[in-house]
C-alpha cells in the first residue's frame, strides 16, 4: 500500500470521563479486520491507583497493517476516529 496511513482518535470524545467508555464500547476494535487497535490503561493511571486502573483508552497500534476499509470510522458512535493517508 502506497504511503503511510494516519489514524487519529479524538480523546475529547472517546476515553476517560468523556463520551463512551472504550471498554464498554470497543466498536472499532471489533470492526477492524487486521486488529489494528489496542485497548489499554493510560500511562498516568499507574500513579493514581495501580490495582484498579479505571482510565482506559484506544490507541491505533499496528497502523501499518490498516487496510483503509474505513469500518472503524463508520462504526464509531462518537465520530472520534479518523483515517487519512
Amino acid at each position: 500500500m502506497k504511503g503511510k496511513t494516519k489514524i487519529t482518535i479524538d480523546y475529547a470524545r472517546c476515553g476517560d470521563g468523556v463520551g463512551v467508555d472504550p471498554r464498554a464500547c470497543a466498536a472499532c476494535l471489533r470492526a477492524c479486520d487486521p486488529a489494528v487497535f489496542l485497548l489499554h490503561e493510560t500511562i498516568g493511571a499507574i500513579e493514581d491507583n495501580p490495582y484498579d486502573p479505571q482510565k482506559w483508552r484506544v490507541t491505533p497500534l499496528w497502523i501499518d497493517l490498516c487496510t483503509r476499509c474505513m469500518k472503524c470510522v463508520d462504526v464509531c458512535p462518537e465520530k472520534a476516529v479518523s483515517v487519512a493517508w
Binding site: R30, L61, I63
Partner: protein, 289 residues
C-alpha cells in the same frame, strides 16, 4: 531439537522439563512481585517506550533503513533474554513455542504446577475488547491473577483440576485455536495459551513483522495423498497460510516452511489424512524454528 531444548531440556523438549515449572525458580527470581507488577498494567506494555521506541506503527519503523534493523535486533534481544528479569514493564525473556494438542496434554498431565486456572485472554481483551476464558496458567501466576478481577472469567470455571484443564484445552484446540507455551519470564513457564491470529500479541510480531517472538513447533504437518480427497476443509483452519488446495489433483498442498506445526488442521479432516511428523524427519527443516 531447538536451542532451548539443547540448553534447558535436560535431554528432551524444554517445555517437558518439569524444573521450569517449579516453585523454586519462582522464589529464586522473586517472580510473585515481578509478575504482579507486570500484570496489573499488562495492556500498557505495547505502548510503553523501550530504548526510546514503542510499538506504535511498528511496520513503518522496521522499514527504515538502519533504524529498522536496530529495532528488530533490540526487540529480539529483549524477548530472548536469559538474564534474571529486572524490568516488569518490558517483555523480557518472554519467549514461547507452538505446541500441538498431544504435547499440551503431556504438559498439563505431568509438568504444570498447581494451582491451575483458566483466565480471560489478555490479547483478545487488548485487541478486540472481548473477554474469553481460554488461557491456562500455572503456579505463581495463578495466585497473581486471583487478585486481578478483570482476568477472572465470570461465566466459566476459574480454578481447574488437571483433567478439567486438559478438557478445556482440547475444546479450544478443536475449535481452531493454536496451543502455545510461554516462558514468562525466562526460566519460569506459566502460560499455556490458546491463540488466534491476528489477535495474539505473541504471534503477530512473528507473522506480520518477522520478529522471532515465538518458535515454530517441534513438528511439521504432512498428509497421506491416498486418503486426502481435496475437500479443502483444513485450508480454512490454517492461520499461517501453509495449506493450499489443488483442485486438479484433488489433494492439498503443504508449505513446510510456512507450517508452524500447531496441528489444528488435523481436527477438521474427516478422512484423517493429516498427521504431524517430528521436524527432524524433514531434511533441511531441522533447525528452522
Amino acid at each position: 531439537m531447538c536451542d532451548l531444548c539443547m540448553k534447558h531440556g535436560a535431554g528432551g523438549k524444554w517445555y517437558l522439563n518439569a524444573e521450569h515449572y517449579s516453585q523454586a525458580i519462582a522464589e529464586k527470581y522473586n517472580l510473585r512481585d515481578f509478575l504482579m507488577e507486570q500484570y496489573k498494567n499488562f495492556e500498557q506494555i505495547s505502548v510503553r517506550k523501550v530504548h526510546g521506541f514503542n510499538a506504535v506503527g511498528m511496520g513503518y519503523k522496521l522499514k527504515m533503513p538502519i533504524i529498522g534493523r536496530i529495532v528488530k535486533y533490540a526487540a529480539e534481544k529483549m524477548l530472548h533474554s536469559t538474564r534474571p528479569p529486572k524490568n516488569p514493564f518490558r517483555a523480557e525473556g518472554h519467549i514461547g513455542q507452538i505446541v500441538p494438542l498431544e504435547d499440551a496434554v503431556a504438559i498439563l498431565r505431568t509438568c504444570a504446577a498447581e494451582p491451575i486456572i483458566e483466565k480471560n485472554c489478555m490479547c483478545r481483551y487488548m485487541s478486540r475488547g472481548v473477554k474469553e476464558a481460554c488461557c491456562i496458567n500455572f503456579g505463581v501466576m495463578s495466585e497473581i491473577v486471583d487478585k486481578l478481577p478483570r482476568f477472572i472469567p465470570e461465566k466459566d470455571k476459574f480454578f481447574l483440576t488437571r483433567q478439567q484443564a486438559i478438557d478445556r484445552f482440547t475444546e479450544h484446540n478443536r475449535k481452531g485455536y493454536i496451543g502455545s507455551i510461554w516462558f514468562g519470564p525466562f526460566p519460569y513457564i506459566n502460560n499455556l495459551c490458546s491463540c488466534a491470529s491476528p489477535e495474539c500479541a505473541g504471534i503477530r510480531p512473528r507473522v506480520d513483522y518477522g520478529i522471532t517472538s515465538i518458535y515454530k513447533a517441534e513438528y511439521i504437518v504432512d498428509f497421506d495423498p491416498d486418503k486426502c480427497t481435496g475437500c479443502g476443509v483444513c485450508v480454512a483452519r490454517c492461520q499461517f497460510k501453509a495449506i493450499g488446495c489443488d483442485h486438479a489433483l484433488k489433494r492439498i498442498t503443504v508449505d513446510y516452511e510456512a507450517c508452524f506445526g500447531c496441528g489444528v488442521c488435523r481436527h477438521a479432516c474427516k478422512q484423517k489424512a493429516l498427521f504431524l511428523k517430528p521436524r527432524d524427519e524433514f531434511p533441511g527443516y531441522e533447525e528452522r524454528y
